[in-house]
Symmetry: D4
Subunit: 232 residues, 8 copies
C-alpha cells in the first residue's frame, strides 16, 4: 500500500529494478507516516548494513525524527542523519549528484504550501536534481509571479503547488514551455474541502501540458519531475 522501498524492488521481471536505479542514480526512499521510530531506525540500519548509505524518509514529524536519532545514537550512521522540519523529511547520507537536464522549479501560491513544496524539493534533490524554489507567488498578486518568470522559465520541469482555488497551475501552465506537475494542497478553509477545490481546478486546467498528483503529494511530484528531468 505504501511507497516505501520503491527503488529497491527486486521485481524479478527483466531487470526493471536495475533500470530504475540507473536512471535515478539515487538511494532509497521510505514513507515514514505509518511507521514508528523503531521501525524506521531498523530499516535505516538494515540499508546501511547492506551497503545502501543514502536514504530519504518522508512524512516524518520532528518528534519521531528525534526518536529515530536517539535510537541510532552510537551507531556509525548516526552523524550522517539529519532532519529538515520544513519538509518533514529526514535524510541519511546525501543527495545524488545533480545530473538532470536542468533545474526543476518548485513554485507555490502561498507560504502555507511550503511544507508540501519542501517535500517535493528535497525529494528532487535527493534524486539528483537542482531545485529552484519560488514561493508565495499566488495569482491574486500576479506581479509577484511575473517578477520570477524568467527564473521559472529557466527550469526544465515545473512543480506548481497551491491550495484554495489552485489557479496557479493554469497560469503557470500558460506561461512556460516545460511540463508542469500540479500539486493541490489542503491549505484553505470552508469550501476548499481539504484540497478538493484545488484538485478540481488543476484537473480542469485550460492550459496544456499540466498533469496532477494527489493532494499534498509533494513526494510524488518531486519523483516524477526527476524522472522527466532525467529523460535521455
Amino acid at each position: 500500500m505504501e511507497n516505501e522501498n520503491r527503488n529497491s524492488l527486486d521485481l524479478g521481471y527483466a531487470n526493471l529494478d536495475l533500470d530504475r536505479k540507473r536512471r535515478t542514480g539515487a538511494g532509497e526512499v521510505i514513507f515514514g507516516q505509518s511507521k514508528d521510530s523503531e521501525q524506521i531506525a531498523g530499516i535505516l540500519t538494515g540499508f546501511w548494513n547492506s551497503g545502501e548509505k543514502n536514504v530519504l524518509v518522508t512524512r516524518i514529524d520532528e518528534e519521531k525524527a528525534e526518536a529515530v536519532k536517539a535510537l541510532l545514537a552510537g551507531h556509525s550512521l548516526a552523524d550522517r542523519f539529519q532532519y529538515f522540519p520544513d519538509a518533514r523529511i529526514a535524510l541519511l547520507g546525501q543527495n545524488a549528484p545533480a545530473d538532470g537536464l536542468g533545474p526543476i522549479a518548485v513554485v507555490t501560491g502561498g507560504t502555507s504550501d511550503i511544507p508540501v513544496a519542501e517535500e517535493a524539493a528535497r525529494t528532487a534533490e535527493f534524486l539528483g536534481n537542482d531545485v529552484i524554489r519560488v514561493y508565495d507567488v499566488g495569482v491574486a498578486g500576479i506581479h509577484r509571479l511575473f517578477d520570477k518568470l524568467e527564473l521559472i522559465r529557466s527550469a526544465k520541469v515545473v512543480i506548481a503547488i497551491a491550495g484554495m482555488e489552485g489557479a496557479l497551475a493554469s497560469v503557470v501552465g500558460g506561461l512556460v514551455s516545460a511540463p508542469v506537475i500540479a500539486v493541490p494542497t489542503s491549505v484553505g478553509y470552508g469550501a476548499s474541502f481539504g484540497g478538493i477545490s484545488a484538485l478540481l481546478s488543476m484537473l480542469n486546467s485550460c492550459a496544456s501540458g499540466v498533469s496532477v498528483v494527489n493532494i499534498d503529494n509533494g513526494f510524488g511530484a518531486g519523483y516524477q519531475a526527476s524522472m522527466i528531468n532525467h529523460m535521455k
Copy 2:
C-alpha cells in the same frame, strides 16, 4: 421560486417597491425558462396594457421567442419586440438610459462562456449601464488578459465569467480595484462536474473583493453589478 417580476413586487412594507424602481430606473424582468410562449406573450401584453413598456425576458430559446413573436403579431407592441440569440434574451421596448457610476466590464475565459456573459451584459444594459465586453481572455494565455487590462480597469464593477477551473476570477480580482462578481459556468467536461469545479475555485479565491453567484447565473451577476454601479 422564480425570479420573475422581481422589480414589480408590491411588498406592502414601507415603500420598498418604489425604492427598487427608483434605483434601477428600469423595466420589468421575466424568467422565461419554465414559462411557455403563451404565458410569456400574456405577461408581456399585460405589462404593456398596464403602462410598463420595457420588459426583459431571460432564459428564452430561439424557438420559444419565435413563438412569442407570432403570438404578438398584430398587437401594437409587436414591432418593439426583439430577440438576442447569444444571450437567450428577448427585449420588449428599450434599455434604461445608462446612468451608472461608470461602465461594467463583462470578462470571460473562453468563447463558450459567451451565452452566460451576454445574459449578464444584456441584463446590465437593460437596467441602465454601459457594458464593456472582454471575451476569451482565459488565464492559460494570460497575455490576452493583460492586453485588455486598462480597458477592464476602466470599469466600476467587473463580472468575471469562466468554466473549467474558473481561475479567471482570482487573477482579475488581483488586478483590479473594483468589486468583482464571479460567475462559474457549466462549460467543461469530466471533472468540471457541470460547473462545480469553477464554483469552488471562485468561492476559494485568494483575491479580496470577489463574490460569487450561482453556476451560469448571468442575470444575477448583471443585476447585482447594476445595483453596485448605481450606489449613491
Copy 3:
C-alpha cells in the same frame, strides 16, 4: 495563497496599488491563521517601522494574540495593540475614518454566527465604514427580523450571515434594495455538512441582488462591502 498584505502589493502594473490604497483609505491586513506569534509580531513591527501604523490581523485566537502582545512588550507600538476575542481579530493602531456612502448592516441568523459577523464588522470598520449590527434574527422567528427591518434598510450594503439552512439571505434579499453579500457559516450539525447546506441555499437564492463568499469568510464579506460602500 493567503490574503496577507493585500493592500500593500506593489503590483508594478499601472498604479493599481495606489488605487487600492486611495480607495480604502485604510491600513494593512494580515491573515493570521497560518502564522505563529513570532511571525505576526515581526510583520507588525516591520509595518510600524516602515510608517504603516494601522494593521488588522484576522483569524488570530486569544492565546496567539497574548503571545504577540508579550513579544511586542516594551516596543513603542505595544500599547496601540488590542484584541477582540469575539471577532478573533487584533488591531494595531486604529480604524480608518468612516467615509463610505452610508452604514453597512451585518445581520445574522443566530448567536452562533457572531464570530463570523464580528470578523466582517471589524474588517469593515477598519476599512472606514460605520457598521450596524443586527444579530440573531433568523427566519424561524421572522418577527425579530421585521422588528429591525427599517434599521437594516438604512444601510447601503447588507452582509447576511447564517448557518444551518441559510434562508436568511433570501429573505433579506427580498426585503432590501441594497446589494446583499451572503456568508454561509459552518454553524449546524448533521446534514449541515460544515456549511455546505447554507452555502448551497445562498447560491440558489431566489432573491435578486445576492452574491456569496466562502464559508465563514467574514473578512471577504467585510472587504467587498467596503469596496461597494466606497463606490464613487
Copy 4:
C-alpha cells in the same frame, strides 16, 4: 420496491390492513411510473372487479393516461376514469369524503413547483381531506406569503414545497403552529443539484415542527399529511 397497492396489503399480522383502511377511508393508490399502460389498465380492472371502485394512479404522464383510457374503452369503468395533467395523476372513481380534522394547506415557492404540489393535493383529496392551495409565495417576495398567512394558518397540517434554496419551509415553520411537511423539488439550475440544495435546507431548518420527504415526493407528503389530519 414501489409504493403500489400500499393500502391493500394483507399484512397477516394482527389486522393492520384493516386499520389502515379504516383510518384513511380511502381507495387504492398505484405508483404508475414504472408500469406501462397495459399493466395499469389491468390493475384498474382487477380492482374494479374485486369491488374497489376508487383508485388513484400517481406519476402517470398524459400519453400513458391516454393509452390507459383507450384500453379501458367499452368497459363499465371507462367513464369513471379522469386525468389531471398538472398533477400527473389519474383517478378512477372518486375521492373519499373529507372527514379530517380540518383543511391541509399546500404551499409552494413558485409556479414551477406546481406539479409536485398538485400531486400532494390530489393525493390528500383522494384520502379524504380538504386542501387549501397557496402557490407562488416564495420568500424572495415575502409579502405574498404574508398576504396568505391567515389562510395558511387555518390549516391543520401544512405541506411546504420549494426548489432552489428551499427557504420556504423554515419561514412557514416559524409562522404556523401546525406540523409542517417539507417537500424539496428538483426545480432550479446550477448549484441546486437536482433538489439537493433544497433538501439540505429543509433538513437543517431552524424552525421546529418541520420534517422532510424525498425530492419531488408530493405523494408522500400528501399521504402523511392525511394521516396526521385523521389523528383521533
Copy 5:
C-alpha cells in the same frame, strides 16, 4: 440560527405565540450546544424570575450541566434542576402533564442510538406526552422488533431512530398505521459517512407515511411528534 426560546417568541402576528403555547401546554426549550454555563444559568434564572418555572435544556453535556448547577447553587430554583446524561438534557421544573391523543413510541435500531432516542423521548415528555421506549430492535434481528410490535402499534406516533443503513424506518413504516418520524443517526463507520447513509435510506423509504428530520435531531422528532399527538 438556533432553536432556543422556540415557544416563547412574541411573533407579533395575530397570536401565534399564544397558539403554540396553548397547543403544547409546555415550558420553554433552550438549545444548549453553543451556550456556555454562564449563559445557560442566566437564561434559566431569567425565565424563573419572569414566572416560567419549566425549562428544558438540550445538547448539554455532563460537565456543562455540573457547571450550571454550581452557578445556580443557593438560588431558589437550584433544587428543581436535574440532569439526564443519557439524553444530554437538563430539566428545570417539570414536564407538562401528558394530555396527548396517546403514547409516542421511540424505537431504535441499536443501543448506540440511545442518546438521540432519549433526547427525543425527554423532549416529548416535557411537552406533555407519554413515551414508550423500544430500543435495540434493529432489522438484522427482526424477531426482536416483532416481539415488540403490539407495543409499538399502541402508539399514536412513532419515532424511528437508526444509524448505519437506517432500514428500521422502512420496516416500521410498513408495519404501523401511525405517522412515522425517522431520525438518522451518525452511528456507524466507513461508508456510513456520519449519518448520510441512514439519511438517504430514510428519505427513500418505500413505506408510506414516513418523514425525516436532520441527522441526530432527536429534539426535532420529539417536538413534531408532540405536535401531531396533540392534534384536535
Copy 6:
C-alpha cells in the same frame, strides 16, 4: 476494461484458466454493452468455430439482439440463439447442467428491479445453478417476504436486489444462514441518486454475512453466487 471472455483467458500462469473452466463447467460470457451487433455476431461465430457452443451475452438490448440474429441467419448456430428481454441477455447454446450445492435464491424489493434480477438469474443458470426467483417482497410490506421465507431459506446462496433505500439486504441477511450478495439498483428518484442510497445502505448493513457488488451489476452477483455454490 470489460468483462468479456472472462472464462477463456489463457493466463499463462500455472493453469488458472483450466481451473476456472473446471470449476464453472460453463461456457463463455460476453459483455455486450459497448459492442455493436457486428462485433457480437463475429465473436459468437468465432467461439462456435473454435468449438465453444455455449455463450452468454449480457447487457444487450432487444434491437441489438435482433440485429445479431439477422447477421447469424443461415449460419448453423442461428437456431441455437435466443433472447431474453427481461434479462437483456442473449444465449447461444444452453446452460450448464445444474450441479451446485443447492439452489440460489434471487430476491427483489420491487418489480422494477426485475431486469437486474433476471440478469443475475440467467447468469447463474448459465453457469450451472438452479435459481429460485422471489420478486417484489420489499420491506415496506414485510409479510410478503415472510410468506416466502422458507423458500428463500432453502437456497444455498441468496442474491438480494433492491433500489431506493435498499433495506432488503439487511432484513434478508438477518433471516437466512446462507451468504447474501447484495445488488443495489438504480431504481428510485430524487435522493436515491441513481442507486447511491441503496448502495450505501447495503454497505452499512448491520446484518452479518452480506457483501455488495456494483449498482445494477446482476451479472457480478450471479457469477459470484455460482462460485460459492460450487465450493467443494
Copy 7:
C-alpha cells in the same frame, strides 16, 4: 444497530438460530466499539455463566481491554481472556476447530492495512478456519504478489484488503479461481477520502467474482468468508 450477539439471536422463526450455530460451530461475537469496559466484562461473565465459554470481542482498543481484564480479575474466566493488539480483538476461550473446506487467504496491499487484516483473520480463525496471511503485496510492486501467488491460490476464499487506490482486489480477482471478498481501508491521504477511493475501485472491479464490504470492515469479510468456507 450493532453487530453484537449476532450468533445467539433467538429468532423465533423456524430454527434459524440453530442453523447458524451449527454452521459456524463457533462461539459468540461482541462488537466492542460503543461499549465500555464494564459492559463488556458484564456480557462476558453472562455468557460464561450461561455456558458459552468462547467469545470474540472486536473493535476493542488496548486500554479498554486492560480495563476489562482488571474487572475480570479473580473470576474463573480471567485466565482464559487474551488480547491481540494488532487486530484490536479480545478473545475469551478459544477458536472453533478449523473444519472448513480449506484455508482462507487474507491479502493486503500494505503494512498499514494490517489492523483490518488481523480483524478479518482472527474472526475467521475464531469461526473455525485456517488462515493464510499474505501482507504487503500491493500492485505497485506486483512481483511481491506473484511471489505468493501459489500460496494465495491454495485458499478456498480470498479476502483482499487495500486502501489508497484499492487496485489489489481487481488484480487478485483476475488471478484466482476462488471467491474474493474485498475490504477497502481508510489508509491513505488526500483524495483517498477516508477509503472512498478504494471502495469505489473495488465496486467497479473489472474482475468477476469480487464482492465488497464496508470500509475497514475486517470482521464482516472474515465472517462471510467463513460462511463460504463452510458451504456443504
Copy 8:
C-alpha cells in the same frame, strides 16, 4: 476557456511562443467541441492562408467533420483534410516528423477506452512522436498486460488509460521506469460515476511516477507526453 490555438499564442512576454513552437515542431490544434462546422472551416482556411498548413481538430464528431469537408470543397486544402472516427479527430495536412527521444506507449484497460486512447495517440503523432498502441490489457486478465510488457517498456513515456476501477495506472506504474500519465475514462456504470472512481484510483496510485489528467482528456495526455518525449 478552451484549448484552441494553444501553440500559436503570441504571448508577448519574452519569446515563449517561439519556444513552444520550436519544441513541438508541430502545427496548430483546435478544440472542436463547442465550435460549429462553419467556425472550424473558417479557422482552417485562415490558418492555411496565413501559411500554417498542418492543423489538428479534436473532439469533432463524424457528422460535423463531414460538414466541414463539404464547406472546404473546392478549396485547395480540401484534399489535405482527413477524418479519424475512432479518435474523433480531423487532420489538415500532416503530422510533424517523429523526432522524440523514443516511442510513446498508449495502453488501455479495455476496448471501450479506445476513443480516448486514439485521441491521445493521434495528438502525440501530430506533435512528432511514434506511438505504440497496446489496447485491452486490463488488470483483470493481467497476463495480457505481461504479454506486452517488453513492448511497453520500450517506450520513453507511457499513457495509461482506463475506466471503471482504473487499476491499470498503478500496475503499469509499478512495472515501467518511464513517466506514466494516467487518463481516467468515463467508461463504466453504476458506482463508476462517470469516471470519478477511475480518477480517484489514479490520484491515489501507490506507484511512483504517475500523474493524472482530466477524465477522458486524451489530448492533454498526448500533449504532455510529447513535451516529455522532447526533453533535451
